[in-house]
């Protein structure tokens, strides 16, 4: 008998909750949807050496760098005065690592726009502008020798990637 009353009570409670919920309506007003994301204009803090290395590692291997490796990599970069050169060497060494996660050339060429957008999101944490999209699309279409590795390296060495 007790189960019967409990069943009736839950039924009434459910009916009340459903009847009180207001239906959400998406108003479009004949405009296109626009995503709001961080702009590069806000990137004005230079990453420290440690931040650069650990973020780069996460971007290329999709896993965190161990503390020991981070210290070793930082020391190696410190041993070379030209920081730009040090970064080039670290990026290049990462690219030669067997565990690196890179899209294949076929993946890149199958859907170039997707590859470009993914790369911007991965490295620069933003969407590409139309001009950027068009530039990279044209470059990849025009030059068959472009590989994801070359694109990733260019992004990792870019000035914007040094800032957050």
């Amino acid at each position: 008998m007790n189960y019967f009353y409990l069943y009736i009570f839950l039924l009434c409670l459910g009916a009340c909750l459903v009847s009180c919920q207001e239906r959400e309506v998406d108003f479009v007003y004949q405009l296109n949807q626009a995503d709001v994301s961080a702009s590069e204009i806000n990137k004005n803090q230079e990453k420290t050496l440690e931040q650069y290395i650990s973020i780069l590692h996460a971007n290329l291997f999709q896993k965190a760098l161990s503390a020991d490796e981070l210290v070793e990599l930082r020391d190696c970069m410190t041993s070379i005065g030209d920081k730009e050169l040090g970064k080039q060497m670290i990026v290049s060494n990462f690219m030669n690592h067997p565990a690196i996660i890179l899209p294949t050339k076929e993946d890149m060429r199958t859907d170039i726009d997707k590859f470009i957008k993914d790369t911007f999101r991965r490295f620069l944490i933003r969407e590409p502008t139309e001009a950027e999209l068009a530039y990279f699309r044209n470059l990849i279409q025009r030059q068959p020798g472009i590989t994801p590795e070359l694109v990733f390296t260019a992004f990792a060495m870019s000035d914007e990637y040094r800032y957050y």
């Binding site: 070379i80 080039q88 060497m89 290049s92 950027e132 694109v151 870019s158 800032y163």
Partner: protein, 445 residues
């Protein structure tokens, strides 16, 4: 950039370097205020804390261990007879350190140039002492992990002589003790844009370096590097903030390419044990000096500063201190001999300056080593005593200046001396950053 285009650019840049004056940031086209004495200067920071007693005074164990044995264990730098008993500083044979390392320079540097027997530093801490040598001054607020406050000798030379980045090198024995920071200052009118190319070869080409740097890919200049550079330039122009200008030491792309090739080649040479090395290479300083010779051979820098530090073991082992002092002497002898015999562009066109950054105490600490000899720290007045030495074109030969109790010269003199050699002494002094008593060592002769 196509290979042909790259080579053309390099040739043009080289021709420009030779044929045309630099337009300096100061707006001056011709920087030299006086004639240069030499086109190259090599400064060896004979660092780690060297007591006058065991170096220039040649007292071996007499002034430290209460044993009346005197003698010269730095016979590449100094003239004088070696100790005849209790020799521990050489290489090992039937007894540790029994065999002194063969002399490299038949004429010691002291006789080839000028010896300042008794100079002064105002600092007894390594980093501060080194700062004094490279800044020609030191601020009371200067501390470890802090970029030099006043401009360094590299910045003066790069700015006022118009030296490109690849012609100013700082070869460090390691990256500890904030050593890499000495390659440029935080001064707003100089700074990183005029800094030196730093290299700590024992780390770069050591175990860690091999693990993380040696697998760097060599991209094809035309098919890979060129589009990569194109993409980077596009991204940078979109970003609108040239980080290189903000943070770089201004190596040009060609210079950077040359340095990366140099490093790549050195990995191969290190692996094949073909790096230039002195006869004996059983400590870090000797290996560092070998890599410094590689830098000199490749870049023929206008200014090279090499930092040694192994004698600092004296805090806990006097025996090892003597061994490393003997090796530091071997390293400098090797370096000078290599410049004179293996680098024609620098031979007879280089002035060598040798100076410790600080001395060591008069009285021992309580630590005894395997020979029951006491160790020495650096904190008292005796630690302010150092020697200095110069050799090369225009340096008076066989001259010894100053003596115990009559000091002549100070380590802050190094900066105006280098400026003097390269013809910009007045311009550097007139910037007003040097210690007020600092003078060119040539003006003290």
């Amino acid at each position: 950039m196509k290979r042909r285009e790259f080579l053309r650019n390099v040739s043009l840049a080289t021709a420009g370097t030779i044929g045309f004056p630099y337009i300096l940031p100061s707006g001056r086209m011709f920087a030299q205020t006086t004639d240069r004495m030499a086109d190259h200067v090599v400064v060896v920071l004979f660092a780690g804390g060297v007591r006058q007693q065991e170096s220039v005074l040649q007292r071996y164990l007499a002034d430290s261990q209460n044993e009346s044995i005197e003698g010269n264990i730095m016979y590449n730098l100094l003239a004088g007879a070696t100790p005849n008993d209790k020799v521990v500083y050489g290489t090992d044979s039937d007894r540790p350190g029994k065999d002194p390392i063969p002399q490299i320079l038949t004429t010691p540097l002291q006789l080839q140039g000028t010896l300042f027997r008794e100079m002064r530093t105002s600092e007894v801490i390594h980093y501060n002492g080194l700062n004094l040598c490279v800044q020609g001054n030191i601020s009371a607020t200067q501390g470890l992990k802090q970029q030099p406050i006043f401009p360094t000798v590299f910045e003066y030379i790069r700015r006022h002589v118009g030296v490109p980045a690849s012609k100013a090198w700082f070869v460090g024995s390691g990256i500890g003790n904030s050593i890499p920071l000495l390659s440029y200052s935080q001064n707003e009118f100089y700074g990183q844009a005029y800094g030196a190319n730093f290299l700590a070869p024992l780390l770069t080409f050591g175990e860690k370096g091999f693990r993380h740097l040696s697998r760097a890919k060599s991209y094809h200049p035309e098919y890979e590097l060129s589009p990569m550079e194109e993409m980077k330039v596009f991204l940078d122009s979109s970003f609108g903030r040239n980080a290189d200008v903000i943070t770089g030491i201004n190596n040009t792309e060609e210079e950077r390419y040359e340095i990366s090739q140099f490093i790549e080649n050195l990995f191969v040479k290190t692996e094949q044990r073909q790096v230039i090395q002195p006869l004996v290479r059983d400590n870090g300083d000797l290996k560092t000096i070998g890599y410094a010779c590689e830098v000199l051979q490749q870049f023929k820098p206008t200014l090279t500063v090499v930092d040694l530090e192994e004698v600092d073991v004296c805090h806990g082992s006097f025996t090892d201190y003597l061994r490393n002092l003997h090796r530091a002497d071997h390293a400098v002898g090797f370096l000078w001999n290599y410049i004179q015999t293996q680098i024609p562009e620098m031979s007879d066109n280089t002035i060598l300056i040798v100076v410790p950054e600080c001395g060591r105490n008069l009285h021992a600490n309580p630590i005894k080593d395997e020979n029951d000899w006491f160790s020495y720290d650096h904190s008292d007045l005796n630690s302010l005593r150092v020697f200095g030495m110069m050799a090369g074109p225009g340096v008076p030969q066989g001259l010894a200046i100053g003596q115990e109790g009559v000091p002549v010269g100070m380590t802050a003199d190094i900066v105006p001396t280098v400026a003097d050699i390269l013809g910009v002494k007045d311009e550097v002094i007139n910037q007003g950053y040097l210690y007020e008593g600092a003078r060119s060592l040539f003006d003290r002769i």
